[in-house]
Structures are given as C-alpha cells and as structure tokens.
C-alpha cells in the first residue's frame, strides 16, 4: 500500500539504453515522393476547405490585394432598403477609412450594402431574402473576399450562430462568436455595441486616477436579468449565490419577457426588491471587478461597459471567442472565468495582487481607448487585423497590439522593428539615436538664399548632434546651384517640393535617416545652444514634440467652439513646427495614417498643418508637447520674405514676443492677412476636433529650462549661458 502511495516515475536501470522515438533519417527526411506535389495538394485543399473550414489560404483571393494594396469597397446602398442606424455607422466608418475605394475593380475586400447586423428573424431589423439579393450582385463571387458584419445571429430558443443566408466563402465579423464555429485566422470576433455607440472619438474611460490600493467600494458586482428558463439560464440562475451584501453585490431580477410570472420561483419576489435598491451605474463606477456573464448569446453590452468603467471584467461565458482575440491579449485586462466555477470567483479575485489589479485597471482603459470607444475604432481594428494577415512579415507583433499606443497607431509599413518607433524605448531597453536631421522648409521667392536661412544653416550645422540638413524647396524657381549653398560640416540635401502643398513638409522623405527631426522654417532664427539644449530634452521625451514657440487652445463657451490663441499665456498645447524636434515616425503617421481628405483640408487652409501635427501627436500620446527655453523671437518679424506666388497666405510671426502688445485675435474687420490666417487656424482646429471626434490637445503649464537657468551663479559654471542673453 505504501509503495502505491509514493510512486514517482521510476529511474529505469536501463534508461540510457532506450531507443529514440524516431530514427534521425525519419526526422530529417520524411518527404514521401509518392505523395501529391505541393501544388496539387494546395489545389486539393481548396476544394476540400472551401466550405465549412474556410481559411485565408483556401477561401481568400490574395491576388486581388496585390496591385492596389488593401482597398475596401462598400456596396452602394439599395434604394428602398434602409439600413439600421448601427449599420449606417459601420458603413460610414468604412468610408472614412484610408483604405476605402469607390472602385470595385481595385478592391481587395468587399462589404455588403445590405444590413446583416440583426439576423434574428423575430427582430424588426431582420432583412429577408438576403440570399436572392446577394446572388444578384455581379461582385458577390461566392462570397470571396467579402466581409459580413453581424451582431445578432440565431433566435429563440437556441440562439445559435446561423445567419439565415448562405455566406459562402465570406469572412464574418461577428459578435458573440462561439469558438467552435469561429474559423481561426479567417473570421473576426467583434464586440457587441449599442446603437448609441459614438461614430468617432468616443468617451474616455472612467479611470481618472491610479488609486492605491486600487480597491473600490465593492469587490465584485453584477446586476442583471435572471433567465428562468432556456439557454444561458444555468449561469444567470446561479449568480445570486455569491451575493454577500457587503463587498460582493450580485443582483438578479426575474422581470423580463412578457410571461416571466409564469416561470416565477420562490426567490423572485425578494430578488426583485433587492434589485431595485442598487443602481447599475453606481455599481459599475464603484466596483473593482464586474461579472460579465453570458446572456442568451455569449456577448453582452456590459462587456464594453465594464471595460470603459475600468471595472475589470470577470467573464462567465464559456466558449466565447473574445473580441479581437487574434490581436488582443485579454489576460492583461480581464479575468476569464469558467461558468462552471462561479463559486470560486470570489476567492479567485480576492487573491489577485493589488499591483496586478492596478495593471488590469489601466489595461482596460488602454484597450477601451485604443480599439473600442467608437464605431470607427471597432471597424478600423477589424480592417487592420485582416490587413495584417495579407503579409505576415509586415504585420504587427502581439506585443505591439497590446502596448500603448496600440495597433491602430503603429504602421507596420513604416517598420516592423519596435526600436524604430518613438513608443517602445523604455519597454525594450532601446534608446533613440543621438543625432538629428534638420529639415528646413523653404518657400521664399528670392532666387538666392536669404540671410536668415544662411544663418540658420550655420547655427544648426554647428550642433554636435546634427547629422544632416535636408531642405524642402517648395518654390517655382529652382533652388540655387550647389555652389551657392554654405559650406557646412554636415551633408546637405535638397528636395524639390510642390507648391502649395503644406502637408508635404510632413512627408516621410527617405532622406531623413535619424530618429529625430528638427523641423524648421527658413526664417526661423535659432542659436546652436538652443538647438543643443532642445535636443537633449527631446532625448528624454522622444514621443513628444519638443519646441520653442507655443500656442494654446481653449473652449469658447460663448461661441460653442474651440478657440485658439497665440497670446502669451500660462499654458501651452501647441508647439509650432517652425522650430521643433519630433520623431521621424510622425512623418509616416501624418502621411499614411490620416486619410487623404484630411490632408487636403490642411492644404486648403493655410497654416493648419502644424496644428494637425500637434493634434495627431497628442491623439497618440495623450500628453502635451514640451516647450523649452527660447532666447528671443524666432522669426525676424520685420523682414518678411515674400511668399512664392502671389502669397495668398502671409506668414506673420506666429511666435511674436512683444510684451507691450500681446498678440491675439486681431481686431475685427481689419481684413489683414494676419486675421485671415488667424481665423483659418481657428477653423482648422475646429475641423480637426470634429474629425477626431474629440479635442486631443492637452495643455501644459511648464517649460523646461537648463538646470542653472538664470540662477545666481557664475556664467562660467553654466553649460548654456547664451540662452540667458536678452
């Protein structure tokens, strides 16, 4: 009996003599020439796995995406066939995407104009005869390269996955996906979201502070329906068991459906009373964990609600393929429980370390904001996941999807190496390269080089950190011959730009080889020490814009719109790109990530491009830009170089620093170029806030100065004495 009780795996006396599980030849050469050739095998697969077991390699035509890249076509909506509000939002998100095309010839992915969101035939939104309609379309092609969105499938009583029409070889982007019907790497699981879900922008998460300890009033809460019968009732019927009336509140009501009283049991009356005593929103705000059980279907609205509220979801929905699980690591933001082990949940969540709780809470907020807070984000995440499958070697790694700022803002076409982005230095122990590229935009008319520009080139090239100078020459007249340019210690490259294309200054030119870009206007005036100091600051904040002249935005309640000021203020939220350091990745993000329409807007409104750059970087980082010490005004205000052409937009000194006349909105009716410019900038700001769906700019109250700046100590001790000269 004792030998029975203590039996480890034996150490065999002849253990070393055992044979290997396979001969070396068997392992190194298992090819069987009698088999189908690879080509034949792939052809055979296609026929076998076209139905049912669709995968990208069998049901998706990659060749459609090769010539024009990843382009998405949405079917035009049929007359007399209105779509639901939610499907309308999805379609408009697709149309807002930078991948959208109106030409089906160049499309890689097709989306139906028929509303397929609600396929419960008892529902009012149910569209009948879908089969007929899609088969009538010449583009349908058996569903190949089609993506079908769906939120509700099946119906009472089983609520299965059926859509009620033949989806052929189309991919499904579906809520409440069951892992057994989910085709991995082919379908996309999306979250269930409500009709009120905002189109763009979206509300912030509710976590405003990292409380320590991260506990809230309640540990674990649930408030919802208790199904008395039918699918999902097993889990919902048990939820009341964990209620303890103190830190665990689990309330169910029997009231739902018309005939609930027929199925009513002895608990119902008391439960219904308790149920009314607590407010759902109050519980959501004040609990550390929220139970997210299955309903009739696997997904529920409360999943996104809990995520937004930073109430860590405790999932009790067995077999649910979690939203975007192909990209998102839910283990960092949710507790994936088992319906069968409900009674263990209280002890399990109690045992989670406070550090882990804090990390969970922050992660819910990151995911909410990165992928879920608007219909745009949900749809664009779906598209990016599919796009990543097309060229696996140019796709986002899992770590990239799961760290700030999230997959949508990181373009694998820029690089697949994390060290090339401004966001991951600390997490991966990289650091940005210690050199910068000075990038000067020249628009002046003169055939020769202006004095300010010559001085600027000299000052900048004297910096020990300057690797190269790139001039973007955006005038009709050709740039002066190379002999006319000043001799400098660093290489100088001239790029011929296009006239009137303001957004070009943020084009990801190949010539820019360093992580840091120092963006300059030709009439900017900077000293070498200013450049050196600002660059040393940028190295500490490589994800932000670090610059000299600043402006700020504010909400104007009278006008009901955003206001903009270049006045001297105690705050700042915009750094002018006439003199600013930032990471070169932002050139790519500006050019590739923003849809063409937005860049056209910038080209149309003078002096809007730098606001857009600031808005974009703030949307990515959620942080303000950084202002550093500035010696004196940066534009030589008096001698404005003439614009090329007839100068529709003048460039008055934006960073005017005349204390006697703080510069602000020019008096009404002056009609000067300055006021036009000012109102255009204000328009620009408002249009951008509208496009983003919120105002991404963040204000700061500080400026970074050298450590000994204006301290009462000998200038000989100071590293940047010249910054203090008036």
């Amino acid at each position: 009996r004792k030998a029975e009780a203590r039996r480890n795996w034996p150490r065999w006396t002849d253990g070393t003599l055992l044979k290997s599980f396979a001969d070396p030849e068997e392992l190194q050469g298992d090819e069987d020439p009698s088999l189908l050739s690879p080509r034949e095998r792939r052809a055979a697969w296609l026929s076998v796995h076209r139905r049912g077991g669709c995968r990208m390699e069998t049901c998706f035509d990659f060749s459609r995406c090769e010539r024009h890249g990843f382009k998405v076509f949405t079917y035009p909506q049929e007359r007399g066939q209105p779509v639901s509000e939610t499907y309308g939002k999805i379609l408009s998100s697709l149309e807002r995407s930078r991948y959208h095309t109106r030409n089906p010839e160049e499309a890689c992915l097709f989306i139906l104009g028929i509303d397929t969101l609600d396929r419960d035939h008892l529902s009012g939104h149910y569209v009948s005869n879908v089969d007929e309609k899609i088969r009538g379309s010449p583009l349908w092609n058996g569903g190949r390269n089609h993506l079908i969105f769906n939120l509700y499938s099946g119906t009472w009583p089983s609520y299965g996955g059926e859509l009620g029409f033949d989806t052929g070889q189309a991919m499904l982007a579906k809520a409440s996906f069951d892992s057994s019907s989910f085709r991995p790497g082919f379908d996309v699981s999306i979250p269930l979201f409500s009709r009120e879900h905002p189109q763009r922008g979206g509300d912030r998460g509710w976590l405003r502070r990292d409380s320590v300890p991260p506990k809230k009033k309640y540990l674990l809460v649930f408030k919802g329906k208790r199904y008395l019968t039918g699918i999902g009732s097993g889990t919902r019927n048990a939820l009341h068991h964990i209620h303890n009336g103190q830190d665990i509140i689990s309330l169910t009501t029997c009231k739902h459906g018309k005939d609930w009283e027929k199925h009513k049991d002895t608990r119902c009356d008391k439960d219904n009373v308790d149920y009314e005593r607590f407010d759902y929103q109050e519980l959501l705000h004040n609990s550390t964990f929220c139970i997210v059980p299955r309903g009739r279907r696997l997904g529920s609205f409360r999943f996104l609600e809990a995520l937004q509220a930073a109430c860590i979801p405790v999932l009790l929905s067995d077999g649910w393929e979690l939203p975007f699980a192909e990209a998102i690591d839910w283990g960092k933001a949710a507790v994936v429980g088992s319906e069968r082990l409900l009674l263990q949940i209280p002890s399990a969540v109690r045992c989670i370390h406070p550090e882990r709780v804090l990390a969970f809470q922050q992660h819910t907020q990151f995911l909410w904001d990165a992928y879920f807070s608007s219909v745009d984000k949900i749809v664009h995440t779906t598209l990016e996941i599919i796009k990543d499958r097309l060229s696996p070697h140019r796709s986002r790694s899992r770590s990239l999807w799961n760290t700030l700022p999230g997959g949508l803002l990181v373009l694998p076409d820029f690089s697949t190496h994390l060290g090339d982005f401004p966001f991951y230095y600390l997490q991966h122990g990289y650091s940005p390269s210690k050199k910068f590229t000075a990038f000067i935009r020249a628009v002046s008319q003169a055939g020769s080089l202006s004095q300010p520009m010559l001085r600027l080139i000299q000052a900048v090239s004297a910096s020990q950190y300057c690797a190269q100078i790139v001039v973007l020459w955006s005038c009709e007249k050709p740039p002066p011959p190379s002999g006319k340019w000043p001799q400098s210690a660093v290489p100088l490259t001239i790029i011929q730009g296009r006239r009137g294309r303001a957004a070009d200054r943020f084009f990801p030119f190949e010539a820019i080889q360093t992580d840091a870009v120092l963006s300059l206007d030709e009439d900017t005036s900077l000293s070498t020490s200013e450049v050196d100091f600002a660059f040393s600051v940028w190295l500490s904040f490589p994800e932000r814009i670090v610059g000299f002249s600043t402006q700020s935005h504010f909400w104007d309640p009278e006008q009901g719109r955003w206001g903009y000021t270049s006045k001297w203020t105690n705050e700042l939220s915009i750094v002018l790109t006439a003199a600013a350091f930032y990471h070169r990745y932002y050139h790519s993000l500006f050019t590739e990530y923003l849809p063409a329409g937005l860049r056209e807007l910038v080209d149309g409104l003078a002096a809007c491009e730098d606001i857009l750059m600031n808005v974009l970087v703030a949307a990515v980082t959620k942080l303000p830009p950084i202002k550093v010490t500035q010696r004196k005004q940066h534009k030589e205000g008096a001698a404005q170089p003439a614009e090329c052409g007839d100068g529709a937009a003048g460039t008055p000194p934006p960073g005017q620093r005349s204390p006697s006349a703080p510069h602000s909105a020019p008096a009404k009716g002056t009609g000067t170029a300055g006021s036009r410019r000012f109102s255009q900038r204000q328009d620009c700001l408002n249009q951008l806030a509208d496009w983003f769906g919120y105002m991404p700019l963040v204000s700061s109250q500080l400026r970074l100065d050298p450590v000994l700046f204006k301290d009462q100590v000998s200038v000989l001790r100071k590293k940047y004495p010249s910054l203090e000269k008036p």
């Binding site: 480890n8 088999l35 320590v212 986002r396």
Partner: protein, 719 residues
C-alpha cells in the same frame, strides 16, 4: 480565504496593538490550541514506530523489460475518434482541478505497462528515450501527484510520440482500458510525428475520444484552439551537439536550406532563388558519396563541398524550414538552436506553443505561393530586427525546445494557464529573453493620465522633536491651494506630540501618526490616511518654499505622475580615479536625483518602497539613518526608466548638505556616506538606474518680460 498573495498591511507602522480584552483571551486560547496541536504532531513524527523503512521512499530501480504485461483482447473497446468540437468547457472536467492557493494543476502518470495483443505480439515499443525523459520531467516537477484521486490531468505512459512506431487500433484499446480513462476526459497525449502514408493526417490517428493532444504537426483544421497544445518536433541532435550561442549579426549566407528530403517542386523553386541571388543563398542536399563511417545525418553537401550539420546553420542569417509530408519538422529545432532565423514555409501549420509564443518576433512565415518572393521579403526586414530575431530564436530554443523536459513543462504550463487564467504567465514572461527582461522596464503607472487637479495632494511631514519649525512648515504648506490633507509622522517614541490645541489651525485636516520605532522608512509608508495619489514629502525644516513654488510643483507632478518631482536636485558621477560612483551636490548643469526633503511623488511608490525594495536596502537605510531619499530615487528610476523632474531655480535650503554649500561647515563625512549609499544601491540593483538630464521645469512665463500679476506662478525663485 487562503491567498498565495501577500496582503498589504492596512495599518501604518504605528502598530501599538490595541486589542480588546475579550479578543485577547480568544487569541490566547487559539494560540494554545495550535501550540498543543503542533506538539502532538511533532511527537507523532518522532515516535519510533511511525518511522518508515527508508527503502520504501526511494525511487524504484527496475528495468523497462520488467514492467507488467497487459494483454488486450481483440474485442476490447476502442475509444471514439477525436472530437473536433472539443473545447475546455465542453470536454474537460474542471471540477477535478479545484481551487488551490498555488494555482497549480496536479498531474498523474500511469505506471508503465507492456501491451500485447491476443497473440502476445507487442503493440508498440514499450517506451522511447524521449518519452521516458518527458515523464521523468513531469514526475520531478511541481505539477506531479502520485494520488490518482487528486489528479486534474492524467498522462498515460503509453508512448505515442511517433505514429509510425505503433499499431493504431491496439494502442487505442490500450488507452481505453486505463483505470481513469472515462472517454479520455482530462487525459493528455503527446505526439510528435502524426499521420502516415498516404494522406499524412496532421493529428495523431489513434482514436482518443476527448483526450487532449499535445501534437507536433497540427494544421489549422485539426488543431482545436484552446484545447490541444501545439508542440515542437523534438530534435535528438539537440542533446548530442553543443552549438554555443553566436552573437547576432550578419552571417556568411543570407538564406540557407539544409533539409535533405525536399519535394522536387520546392527544390526547383529554391534553386531558382539561388540562381537569381548567387552565393548569398546556399541550398544543401544529402551527400551522395560520403566515405564510410560518417553519419549521413550530420553532413550536408552542395556540389562537392561537404558541410557539418547542424554547425552549418550558424553560418546563415535565415534558414528555410519547409514542410515535408508532415507539417512539423525537427529541423526547426536545429535552426533555432543555431540562432538562425527560421523562414517557415508550411501553409496552415500551427507553430509550436503558438498559444503563448509570439512567432513574429523569432521567425518569418511565408505562404507557399510566395516562395519566389522570399529573397525580397527577407531583405525588407531591418537589420536591427534581424538581430533581435536571431536572439529570440535562440531563446525560444533554450526555453522551450532544447529538451523533452522543456517541452513537457511548457505544455503543462499552457494547460495550467487555461485552468487558472487569473494566475497565468504573462506574454512578457513567455516571450522576452532574459536580456530584454533585464534591460527593459515595465512601468506600473503606464497609462498616460493627468490626474484631476481637484484631487489635491497630501503633505507628509516627518518630524522628531523640532516642534517650532514643524509648526512653521505646517503653516506655510497649508497656504498651498491644492493641499488636501496634512499628515505628520511623529517619529519620536520618547515624547508625545503636542496637545491638539497647540497645533496651528489650518483649513485642511491634519493627522498625526505615531510610529513604533524611529526609522527613516516611516516617511515612505503607504498610510491609509493618504487618500490622494500625490504625496508631498517635506522635512520639518523646509520653510523657504513659497506657496507658488509648491503649487507649481504639484502641477508639474500632475503632468509627470510617474516621476519624482522635487526641488533640490543632486547628481551622481563616475569617479574615474576611484573607479566608483560619487555623489555631487555642487552647482551642476545636470541632475539625476531630487531630495525627498521636498518632493512630490505617487503614493504607489510608498508601496514599492515599503514592500518591494530590493535586497537589504530598506534595513540598511534604517540602520544608517541616511539615504532614504537616494533609495527612493533608485527605486522609482529603476521601475519607470525615467528621470526625475527638478522644479524651479536653486534656493538656499536648510539641510545638512545645503549648509555645506553655504560654506558654514563642510560636512565631508556626510558626502562620503552619500557616495557610499550610491555604490551600495547600484550593486544591489545590479545596475545604475538613475538617469541624468540637463533640464528643470519652470512655469511657462518664468523670467519672461511680462507683467507679474498676469503670471500663474509669480512668486518663484525668490531667495
């Protein structure tokens, strides 16, 4: 409830027990009972009769040939075929695993038997070397249990690693007669070579009903995601050949193919690639005319050149891993071992441990159709990324491929993570190589949040007996608009704090905490009384900071809530003569620390200081009564990777060092001690986490020629 986690104390160190008498009696009784129990157990333990004969406890010494023989009648039951719809919640019995504080599943191994059919013919080889290694590893691991009734997972000792080596029907019958088989529920089978001619199934053909399969060649159609585990095909060469890790960087060849039995169609494509790109591509094949004795599996040939295998793999940046009849190939393991980046060409193949490993960081997957584009695809990968992939490949091999033990434990850990998801190993732990884990930081306050101003901050004043100065500090600090509470940590056990009526009357709550011992670390305790995120640590003699300066400091902290934001800055320097770190408090152009005599920081760092300070630093600080601030600077910099923020210009501070600078008394020993602290902490942390910067934060309009009354913080920098 039993939690494995250490709970934070909710009370401060002022833990003078104040227990009610009836509780005391209760606890004394409880304690006595426990003590009696312990004594009884101890006596029982050492009671002579209960001592086991030691031989029963040692591991058995037997030969594999001596194991019992089991005869399988021809009509003994055969399990159902594998159920493709099985998932953990449908086919796995979680109730067997239970809740336990360690969050570890218990794994039982059936004892070894020899199975024969009715005619006495063996069903399979009893056990292979690798399967024996695998079971030994499980048996030696924390997962193992010898109690079949407590087991959550059952591992048969029937060796099914190689389907070629077994008889399918009889093996299935052998499985079905296992004592706890129960349709294969919670049974785990390991298989590396599935299928057989002519169709080469991608999963083990042995009918196995609900059993989980850890398989080495799954395709996306046979792999039950979240149920099965995809494992490597082990390469026994790993055990024979020692390939030392080679530093990352360019190698002699760009692309290498070393597989011997490639389908002619693939070989043609590879040769076309070679023809196009010349010598940077090397396509090896079997050697045809090797001299006798040389093992063919350890040589590869190109024309007349002979190469040693697997050593030649180290000569290439990328190594092709093409599917054969099976999807899983042992060469993948050799390639990873060589630190060569695998280029995997096997459509629909589920990569080993893909549930947890991020293969994009270690390999390139190319669809079979795109083989002709391989060269250009690989060339588009940035060099720095290639180097990381080389390191990553080698790390995957070391951690998850190198031995049967590594494979077995990774498999069990994956299943364990499914059953206890709230205790699962994180992505970073699975994927980051040790060098990255070491050099990277994971900031605990990673979400970019600017805390609401309305929250305010809690000022924590550590004091001993300078009551007059303390009261002045309280009065000054109470003028700061965002102060929400003032906490005085009374560190003097010999003297009572002044009576309530004597304290200054201020507009915010003032609390006094008494400590049990006069320790510097009391300053950094996460008192429950601190209800704000922001803490202002301030000495009881810092009276020179203006309200504007403090308010501005708080505003700066809001913009950098994960940093130390303080007033006097300090610097560490490398002393080349002494070859060690030196502390510097002179007028320097750089800072790397701020003194916590006046600094804002997040309350979270109090938790870290109190509970997570590495090594003996905390005790060391308390014993030396010095350097608690340097320790805090190290801690925060180490966990966030970020520099401190020094705010506002330099002022005259009244503190030991500051007087030194004023030239009143040059306290040399103090400076020496501070330098020692830096060297001590750097050695405990194993690195120098402090970051040196050249900037400080001032209000936007500081010293600008602008009306003072319009500035938010006019009173900054007055001496």
């Amino acid at each position: 409830i039993m939690c494995a986690s250490a709970k934070y104390n909710t009370r401060g160190p002022a833990l003078i027990p104040r227990m009610k008498t009836k509780h005391r009696i209760y606890y004394i009784t409880l304690f006595s009972i426990v003590l009696l129990g312990l004594i009884a157990t101890g006596m029982f333990q050492f009671w002579p009769h209960s001592i086991e004969s030691s031989s029963d406890w040692t591991v058995e010494k037997r030969s594999v040939h001596d194991v019992p023989v089991v005869k399988l009648p021809a009509d003994s039951p055969i399990p159902e075929r594998g159920d493709l719809s099985c998932r953990m919640h449908t086919c796995f019995d979680v109730y067997r695993c239970g809740f336990n504080p360690k969050n570890k599943i218990k794994v039982y191994i059936y004892s070894l038997k020899k199975y024969v059919d009715e005619y006495g013919t063996l069903v399979s080889n009893t056990i292979s070397r690798e399967y024996n290694e695998l079971l030994t590893a499980i048996s030696d691991s924390e997962f193992y249990t010898d109690d079949v009734n407590r087991a959550c997972l059952f591992v048969p000792s029937i060796d099914v690693l190689n389907q070629n080596a077994l008889r399918i029907k009889e093996t299935a019958q052998a499985l079905a007669q296992l004592s706890r088989w129960d349709r294969g529920t919670n049974h785990l089978l390991f298989n590396m070579l599935p299928g057989g001619p002519p169709d080469y199934n991608t999963a083990l053909d042995v009918p196995r009903d609900r059993a989980l399969l850890a398989g080495g060649g799954f395709s996306t159609w046979t792999y039950r995601q979240g149920y099965d585990v995809s494992i490597p095909v082990y390469s026994p060469l790993s055990g024979e050949v020692d390939l030392p890790e080679r530093g990352p960087g360019p190698r002699r060849y760009f692309i290498l193919s070393s597989q011997m039995a490639l389908h002619p169609e693939y070989r043609l494509e590879l040769e076309a690639l070679q023809a196009e790109n010349g010598e940077s591509v090397l396509i090896l094949d079997k050697c045809t005319n090797l001299s006798d004795g040389a093992p063919a599996v350890r040589k590869r040939c190109y024309k007349n050149q002979v190469f040693d295998y697997p050593q030649v793999l180290q000569e290439s940046t990328f190594c092709v891993v093409l599917r054969g009849a099976r999807l899983g190939q042992a060469v993948l393991s050799d390639v990873l071992q060589a630190g060569c980046v695998p280029v995997i060409i096997a459509d629909s193949y589920i990569l080993p441990f893909s549930e947890v490993l991020d293969w994009k960081r270690a390999s390139v997957v190319i669809p079979e159709e795109k083989m002709p584009e391989m060269y250009s695809i690989l060339q588009s990968i940035p060099q720095r990324q290639i180097e990381e992939m080389q390191r990553q490949a080698r790390w995957f091999w070391e951690a998850y491929f190198r031995s049967m033990k590594a494979i077995a434990l990774a498999t069990l850990q994956i299943i364990n993570d499914r059953i206890y998801p709230y205790a699962a190993i994180s992505y970073e732990e699975w994927n980051d190589p040790p060098a990255v884990k070491w050099s990277s930081v994971s900031n605990p306050l990673f979400l970019p949040l600017i805390p609401p101003q309305s929250q305010g901050f809690t000022a924590v004043v550590l004091t001993y007996d300078r009551v007059e100065s303390l009261f002045r500090v309280i009065t000054e600090v109470s003028k700061v608009p965002s102060l929400s509470k003032l906490l005085v940590v009374w560190n003097n056990q010999n003297k009572n704090p002044p009576e309530d009526s004597l304290w200054p009357k201020i507009r915010v709550p003032l609390k006094v905490v008494r400590t049990a011992e006069n320790k510097l670390s009391n300053r950094f305790f996460p008192y429950d009384e601190i209800e704000t995120e922001a803490v202002l640590a301030i000495d009881d003699d810092i009276i020179m900071l203006t309200s504007d300066e403090l308010q501005f400091g708080y505003e700066v902290w809001r913009e950098f809530p994960d940093r130390l934001v303080g007033y006097p800055g300090r610097l560490h320097l490398w002393d080349h003569e002494m070859n060690k770190w030196k502390y510097e408090s002179e007028w320097t152009n750089e800072v790397s620390m701020v003194l916590t005599g006046a600094a804002f920081y997040h309350k979270y760092f109090n938790y870290l200081y109190t509970y997570k300070m590495p090594g003996d630093i905390k005790n060391w600080v308390d014993a030396h009564m010095n350097c608690e601030d340097i320790a805090m600077n190290f801690l925060v910099a180490n966990v966030t990777g970020k520099s401190v923020i020094k705010v506002t210009p330099r002022k005259k501070f009244k503190c030991p060092e500051c007087t030194a600078i004023d030239g009143l008394s040059l306290d040399q020993t103090h400076m020496v001690e501070r330098s020692e602290c830096i060297n001590k902490f750097a050695s405990v942390f194993g690195t120098m986490p402090l970051k040196v910067v050249e900037h400080r934060a001032d209000p936007v309009l500081y010293k600008d020629d602008f009306p003072e009354k319009l500035k938010s913080f006019p009173n900054i920098g007055s001496l």
